[in-house]
Assembly symmetry: C2
Homo-oligomer: 129 residues x 2
Amino acid sequence: MNDLFDTLKFDAHGLIPAVIADHQTHQVLMMAWMNRDALSKTLSTGHTHFFSRSRNKLWMKGEESGHTQAVKSIRTDCDGDVLLIDVDQTGVACHEGYRSCFFRRLDGIRWVVADEREVDPKTVYARKS
Amino acid sequence: MNDLFDTLKFDAHGLIPAVIADHQTHQVLMMAWMNRDALSKTLSTGHTHFFSRSRNKLWMKGEESGHTQAVKSIRTDCDGDVLLIDVDQTGVACHEGYRSCFFRRLDGIRWVVADEREVDPKTVYARKS
């Protein structure tokens, strides 16, 4: 049977990058990696799950902070080697308290913080989901 | 001297993923990989350059098609291991003739084409920049 995974190309480590964007504004919130289990879990629960390369484990976005992401749509690109997932973000995507992880912008040769911090980073990890 | 590259984490192959978005609508157009040379060239020319893992060479987006990307801003994420580049896209980003490479959306368990094709893919490669 043809399977949605057949269209996708996972890399040598069994991973595919997932770009996460706000479903209303299209703002890119973060990028993380999924393996097959993470994508399966994302599909079955409706909330984003990723594979942590540093901790070598599956995690649900917001499992500690409560800042979960409800999936609105999943797209893939022409090569089938990247996912683009539109979400309804609860709270903020970045553990540093910014709406998006991409809060630093290149200004000449320096990276400057370009966004307003929305929540105290301490609270992002203080709340258990 | 502190250098903008110091903030960035290139992977074991010397690469960093670059998410490319439309600077006005924020629509994600594509994702590709940069090495240091590709980023340097992007900065010095103002047009996106990438490193092709399959062809093992630097290329300028649109060098064959004319569908170039003028850089409007460059961001990085909290970990410094992904770039988000807002561009002014000439023509279409996808070699298959769609505005964005992410033209397929998951519908149940099937990937369906969700966008309108804007140009004939034959013309994307026919025109030399």
